[in-house]
Symmetry: C3
Amino acid sequence: METIDIRTTTREELIDITQLVRSTIRNAGVQSGLACIFAPHTTAALTLQENTDPNVKRDLLAHLRTLVPRDAGFDNDEENTDAHIKSTLVGATLTVLVEGGKPLLGHWQAVFFCEFDGPRQRKVHVRVLA
Amino acid sequence: METIDIRTTTREELIDITQLVRSTIRNAGVQSGLACIFAPHTTAALTLQENTDPNVKRDLLAHLRTLVPRDAGFDNDEENTDAHIKSTLVGATLTVLVEGGKPLLGHWQAVFFCEFDGPRQRKVHVRVLA
Amino acid sequence: METIDIRTTTREELIDITQLVRSTIRNAGVQSGLACIFAPHTTAALTLQENTDPNVKRDLLAHLRTLVPRDAGFDNDEENTDAHIKSTLVGATLTVLVEGGKPLLGHWQAVFFCEFDGPRQRKVHVRVLA
């Protein structure tokens, strides 16, 4: 298992960690299997999404804010309930297939760490199984 | 594989099953690998979320009701279409890493069974791979 | 690993691929393990849902359109931003348990490919681990 350290720099952002995941899978030396990617946080998430057009990232974060506004009158008074709910909707785990020692992603797919309550120091664990 | 039996007691609730998942992983005797947690239901789900502040659970269920109201004019007349949609949004499967014979969860992360159409007798299957 | 080819015929549809996933798992010859199902697309997804009442599929697609309208004023001008966001909310990967050479699904659970920006030629990869 390897752990990727991520320093987020603003409250909400999508960070492309595809190259870091690629390195981790290469280091594991597994040709064919699967990789489980796990964010040990309750106000962040992981998703597969396009990274060619930066508007996609901006639109995704903006629309999540529309679906889960920060000031929606929540009982929890830590002012990050929106981030908890987004984490559950997007999900904190991803499983990708490994083929030829690489993640088998679609042409447009990148692995994104989703920060919903930054800036913070974050971690992502990756385990590769043959 | 082990199966956890869960008796839900109301229409919508989040039940912390972290200790049950921990026992299952310990029983499997796997030191290092991953655990796949699976809810064989279409009106329930599984999520990782904080269990320190009970407001987080209440806010999550309340906000899901806002996003998917029970009386949104659905075609299906079984009156549980909202529960089906929440199940798809939250997801019925989780994969967590296993390290030292334990689930490698973040400090605030607990595993929750999400009931969206109870009360019912429910099951969660857990398989651990080395 | 096996790849399932799917031809979608309209912009948004749910296609039951349970039988195809069953065949793939049978072909793998694994009695007991797990199957990772992966859609290499950023405008499609995979979900487990009921396939007895066709209204459930229709209600799910209609409600996703309500949550993420196509014309919500997105920056991305490709007119499929809604499909990207739905893909992230529903998720492009599923992990199911395998027992007795079959996917261990609940009585009402079927595996659905979710097309959000068709019609297109699509793929789903399935890998089975013992």
